[in-house]
Subunit: 388 residues, 4 copies
Amino acid sequence: MTGFDAIADQLAGQAIELPSWAFGNSGTRFKVFSQPGVPRTPEEKIADAAKVHELTGLSPTVALHIPWDKVEDYGKLAAFAADHGVALGTINSNTFQDDDYKFGSLAHFDRRVRDKAIAHMHECIEIMDATGSRDLKIWLADGTNYPGQGDIRSRQDWLADSLQQVYARIGDNQRLVLEYKFFEPSFYATDVPDWGTSYAHCVALGERAFVCLDTGHHAPGTNIEFIVAQLLRLGKLGSFDFNSRFYADDDLIVGAADPFQLFRILFEVIRGGGYGPESGVAFMLDQCHNVEEKIPGQIRSVLNVQEMTARALLVDTEALTQAQQAGDVLAANQIFMDAFYTDVRSDLADWRQSRGLPADPVAAYNASGYRDQIIAERIGGDQAGWGA
Amino acid sequence: MTGFDAIADQLAGQAIELPSWAFGNSGTRFKVFSQPGVPRTPEEKIADAAKVHELTGLSPTVALHIPWDKVEDYGKLAAFAADHGVALGTINSNTFQDDDYKFGSLAHFDRRVRDKAIAHMHECIEIMDATGSRDLKIWLADGTNYPGQGDIRSRQDWLADSLQQVYARIGDNQRLVLEYKFFEPSFYATDVPDWGTSYAHCVALGERAFVCLDTGHHAPGTNIEFIVAQLLRLGKLGSFDFNSRFYADDDLIVGAADPFQLFRILFEVIRGGGYGPESGVAFMLDQCHNVEEKIPGQIRSVLNVQEMTARALLVDTEALTQAQQAGDVLAANQIFMDAFYTDVRSDLADWRQSRGLPADPVAAYNASGYRDQIIAERIGGDQAGWGA
Amino acid sequence: MTGFDAIADQLAGQAIELPSWAFGNSGTRFKVFSQPGVPRTPEEKIADAAKVHELTGLSPTVALHIPWDKVEDYGKLAAFAADHGVALGTINSNTFQDDDYKFGSLAHFDRRVRDKAIAHMHECIEIMDATGSRDLKIWLADGTNYPGQGDIRSRQDWLADSLQQVYARIGDNQRLVLEYKFFEPSFYATDVPDWGTSYAHCVALGERAFVCLDTGHHAPGTNIEFIVAQLLRLGKLGSFDFNSRFYADDDLIVGAADPFQLFRILFEVIRGGGYGPESGVAFMLDQCHNVEEKIPGQIRSVLNVQEMTARALLVDTEALTQAQQAGDVLAANQIFMDAFYTDVRSDLADWRQSRGLPADPVAAYNASGYRDQIIAERIGGDQAGWGA
Amino acid sequence: MTGFDAIADQLAGQAIELPSWAFGNSGTRFKVFSQPGVPRTPEEKIADAAKVHELTGLSPTVALHIPWDKVEDYGKLAAFAADHGVALGTINSNTFQDDDYKFGSLAHFDRRVRDKAIAHMHECIEIMDATGSRDLKIWLADGTNYPGQGDIRSRQDWLADSLQQVYARIGDNQRLVLEYKFFEPSFYATDVPDWGTSYAHCVALGERAFVCLDTGHHAPGTNIEFIVAQLLRLGKLGSFDFNSRFYADDDLIVGAADPFQLFRILFEVIRGGGYGPESGVAFMLDQCHNVEEKIPGQIRSVLNVQEMTARALLVDTEALTQAQQAGDVLAANQIFMDAFYTDVRSDLADWRQSRGLPADPVAAYNASGYRDQIIAERIGGDQAGWGA
C-alpha cells in the first residue's frame, strides 16, 4: 500500500472536540452580529455539534463551558448528547466574567477572590464527575493592564498556590489542563503568557497536569510546531485549541490563515507521538465564527484538520530522515513539501463515502434542511453568546 | 531664558480633545466591567470631560460619537458644554454597529449599504454644521476575515467612490479626517490598514481631507514618529488619536506603555510644524479605561501628553543639529535623551499654579468630591458604553 | 477548456528575473559559509543563471548589481549572456558598502556624500544605456540606529532632492524603481521603510518612477497582497523582489515560509492587471541561499512562483464574485481555497515536456553534471559574495 | 534617609561585565564599517574595557569569546587584566563559525560534529580553570532555515545529550549558562528559541545550569520583565546579556530603544532578589556598536544600566503594594512611574565624584586623550571583529 491507502486506517480514529460556544454568537468589542437559528440552550448547542459529527464523523464529543452551559441535571444532558450521537467532553472553567474577577481570579491579590475562583474550579470538577469528563481546562484572563498595577512575582506565587488547591481535587482519571495566552484581555502582563509558564506550573502540580496549546495564543513569528515537539518530548502536551490567526487571537477557522503552518504542527504531533487516542493529546477547536455561519464553519474546521492530518501522514519520513542526515536541505524540504502539496480531497471524499458519510459534508449540510429548520424553530428566547 | 522658562509659553496653547466615549464603560470581547458613576447621557459625559479641563486646563473640547451621542438639539448641547467651560469638537461617525454593516460600510459590495453609510456621514456633517465642529472623523471597521471573502481591489474602488460622495458635502471650513488601523475588527484584510492607504485616498479627495494617526493602530515595531514626520512633510497630517499599546490596539492611557515613544512622536510633531493651533493638527485621546477609573484616567492621559510635550520642547535642537551633521551618533543621542530624562513635573506644577490650576490635578480630583457626587447622583438609567 | 488547460497559455509568458548575486556566497553577520563551485566573475554568475533558464524556461533575464558585477565592456557581457540564452536585466545600485555611506547615501546629511551617491546612480544608468536594461532599482540602506542620531524630516527632504537628480537622468524608456524595507541595516529609523514612503516619492518624481515590493520587507503581520492591490490600483507597482520569511528579511526561497501567502499575492497581481509582460510589473527573485545549494535553490524558487501562479490562475473568479456579493463567506473562501489546494505539479510537468523542458527541472539539474563541472572548474580566484 | 541617599549604598556593588568583542568591529551582513583605533588583540580589548571601568567604576570584569580571544597563556592574560584594574569573567563559546557547524553544533545530526562542539566546550572549561572564570556561556546558532530541513524533535534529544556531556565537565564552582534566542542566524526553527526551552534543559542538567536572558532575543511584544520574575522565582536566572532593540536582535546600546522597559526589567530583578553579587545573577552587556564609537558606547551602556537601577531602587514599594492590593490601578501605576520619571543624573554625578570617579564619564573619556592615543598606536595588524 502506498499513498492515501497506506494512511487511511490512521485517519479512522481521529477525533476533534467541538466547543459548545462556537455555536453561540460571538464578535469583537465593537459588535456582536447575531445570526438566526443560533442555539439558546446547552441542548441546542449539543444538537448543532451533533450535526457536525453526523456529517463528518470527526467530532464525537462536545466541550462545555461553565457557567454558560450550566444545567440542573448533567446526567440528563449527557443522555441528551448520547441520544444525538455525541458525548460530553472537556469542562471549561470561566473566571473572567464575574465582577469579582476584574483584577484576576486564581492569581488575584485578594484571597477571598482566589478562594471564589478555586471554588468555581471545584464546582467544575463536580460537573466532570457527573458527566464523566476527563479534562478540566483552565484558561485564565488574569493579568494587568499597566506597569505597576500588580506584583508580577506575587501573582505567580498566588497562582501556584491556587492551582495546587484545584489540582488536589482532580480525580485519578481526570486531568488539569492549563492554557497559556500571549495577551488579551490583559494588555500589559498576563499571568500565564507562554508555554514555559504553563509547563513550570504543570510540573509543580504533578503528573495529571498538562499544558493546553491554543494555536492563536503566541507572539508574532512564534514557531508553534517547535513548542509542540518540545512539549511532547517533555511529556506535558495535554490538548490543543485549534483555530488560526493573522494578527492576534483572531480565532478564525483552523487552517484558514496559514494551512502550511497547520500541516507543520500536525506533522510534529504525529512525529512526537501525539496523534491518536492513546497519546493523551486531545484535539479541540476554539473558534469564533463572527461573520460566517457557525455550523458549516465548524464543519470546515474539522475537515481542515483532517485534510492536513492526511497530508502530514503522507510525509515519506524514511526519505526525509535520509535527506536530513545527508545535509541535503533542498531534498529534505522538497520531500516535506511534496506531502503538503498532495491533494487529498478526492481520496478523503471516497474514504468518507466508504464509511457511510457524505463525500462533501458542507454540501450535505447545505442540502440537509437543518439550517432552515433551526431558523424556524429557534424563535424567541435569548441566543447563546459570551455574555460579555 | 533657558530650560523650562524658555518653553513655558509654548505650553500655553496646548489643547487635547477628549472623547466622550472614554467616560462610558468599555472592555474587551470577554467582559465589560461597569463602574459606578458612569455617565448615562451625552450631557453627563460632557460634564465629566469639563471636569478634566477644569483641573488641567488642557482639554477645552469634547469629541462626540454619532449615534452614541445623538441628541434632539445640538445647539442646546453646545450651550450645555459652554456652560461647563468646554466646546464640542470632532464628530466621529459610526458605521460598524448596524447589522447592515456586517460586511462593511463605505467599502461594502452592496451599493445600498454604501449609500446608507454615506447618508450617515452626511448626517454627521449636518451635526457638525449645528455644533460648529470642524472635523468629521471617519474610522472604518470595513474589511474581511477570510482570504477570498471579499475583493480587495473592488473594495478600494468602492471606498474611493463613497469617500468622494462624503467629501462633496464637507463645508469650506470643515475637514474630512480618515483614520487607518492595522487590524481589528477585521482579521484578514482591513480596507484602510495603513497611512499610505489613508494618504492616497486623502490626496484623491482634496485639500480638506487629512489623515488621522491613532498611535495604537500600527504593526509591531512600526516607527510611528517617522510617519508623523512624513505626513507633516506631505501636508496631510490632520489629527492624532493618542493612546498606547503593548500588543494590539490596547487603547491604554497615552504614554503608559512607552513614554519614550510618546516623546519621540511629540518631538517630530514640533519639528515638523505640527504643534499649536495654527498647525491644523488636532490632538485627541482615544482610550479605553477598562480597569481603571475613567475621569482620573483621562486626567493622567492629558498630563502625560503635556509632560512629554514639555520634554520634547526642551531638546536643544541647535546642538542636536550640530552633532547630527558631525556624524557624532553618541552626542546626538545624548542631547536627545537629555531632554527626555529631564524631570519637568515640578516645573509644570508651578506653571499650573501660576495659571490658577491645581498643581496636582489628579490629587485635586481625588479631593474634589466629584467622584462621590456622580456615584450618588447617577443611579438608574443605562450607563453609556459601546453597545457592542 | 477547463482546469489546467484553460490557463496553460497564460503561463507561457511568465518571466522571473534572477539576481546575479544569488549565485554568490551569502550568509549572516555571524558567518558566511562558502560553497564549492561558486562563481568568481559576472560571467560565471550569468552562466549559472542561464542554466536555471535552460531547465525551467522561466528566467530569461539576469539582474546585475553594481559594483559587484562591474566589467570593462557591458556590450561584451550582454553578448556573453545572449550566447547563453539569457539577457541582462535590471541594474541594481549599491550605496551601502563604501565607507562614505556609513550614515546614508541619497539621504545623507552631507551634500558631498549625496552627490557621490547620485553619481553612482548616474553611472548605473550609463550601464543601463549600454546593456539596454529598462530598470534602475534603488534599494537604500539609509537610516539611523539611534533616536536623535539623524533628522528624520530633513533626511526625507534630502532624499527627495537626490531622487530628483537621479530621475532627471533616467531615459524615456527607462524606469526608476524604488524599493522600501521595514528595517535592516538601520535599526531605528529607515528612510524608505514602507510602501507609502516609496509611493509618495515616486508620485513626486513622475510617471517613470515605480515602487519595488520585496516580499520580505514588511512588519510582522502585514497583509502584502493588500499592498499589491493598492499599488496596482494607483498605477505604481513597478516590480517584485520575491523571497520569503518567517521573521525578518530572511531572504528564503520564495514560497518556502508561507505558500498560501504567495498564492494570495499572485492572485492579486493577476486580479489587478499586474501579470504578464505588458503589465510593466517585473518579477524578480532576491534571495540568499545560505545553507542550501544556490543553482537548485533558484530553480526551486522559480518553480514555486510558477506553481502558485498556476493555482492563482485557477481561481473560479466568476463563482468567487457571486459568493462574495452574496455575503457567503464560507463559499467564497472555499472557492478561493479550492484553487490553492489543487495540485498542479503533474500538469506542469506535462506542460514543461510539451515545450521541450525537463519535467522535473531539479532532477534534471542533479543529473546534468553541471554541479561537478563547476566544482571542478572554479578553482582559485575569489568566490563572489557580498563583500560585507 | 529618603530619595537618592537611601539607595546610594545599594548602587555601590553594581557590576556589569563587558564583552571583549564589543570593542572590535561589528556590523550587518551588508557591511562592517571599521573604526580607527579598534583593538587587534585580546590585550587591547581588555585595555579598552579597563578604560570603561576606570571612568565608571561599573565594569570590573571582561568576558572573553573563544576562539576570538584565544591566547597562549591565560594566566598572563589574567595578570594583564589585573594590571589594568579588571578581571577576566565569563567565557563565551563559539560553535557557529567553523564550516563543520553549518547545520548545527550541539544539536547537529552528525555525532562527529556534536563531539567536536562538545570538545570545544570542554576546551572553554579548561580556559575557565586557568582564568578562574565562573561561567561558561553557551549561545547556539543551531537551527534550520527550511521546514523539513531538520528533525526538530531529534535535535532536542541530541542537544540534551550534548549538554549533559558538557555539564559533566563543569566544576563545582563553575556554572553552565544557556542562552536562548528567538531567531537568527536560523530562519525557520531555532533549537533554543525561548526561555522555556533553556529552562527545561537547565533543570534536566542540574543545579549549576542556568538560563541566560539576552534582552534582544524575544518575539515582538514579549514581556521580558515577566520572564525575569518567572526565572528568579524558579531559581534559574543565571545572567543577562543587556542591549536593546526596536526590531530583531539589533544589539543597540542598552536602554536606547526603550528606557522604560529597562526600568521595568531592573525593577523585577530587584523585586525577585536578582540584584547584587550574592544573587548569582550576572549582568553583562552584549552589543554591537556598528555606527557609533565603541568605548564611549560601552560607557553610555553601563551608565544607562546604573541610572535605571537607581530609578528602580527608588520605587516606593510599600506604597506600591498598598495601592496594588487596594485595586487602585492609577495610584499603583503613578507610584511606579514616579520613580521612573525621577531624574537621578545629578545625584549620580555627585555620587561618582564622592568615589573618585568623574562626574561625567563620557566627557571624561572625550577629554582623556585615550581616543587619539589608540588611533595613533594601533596602526597595522588586523582589527578585531567577528570574522564572519
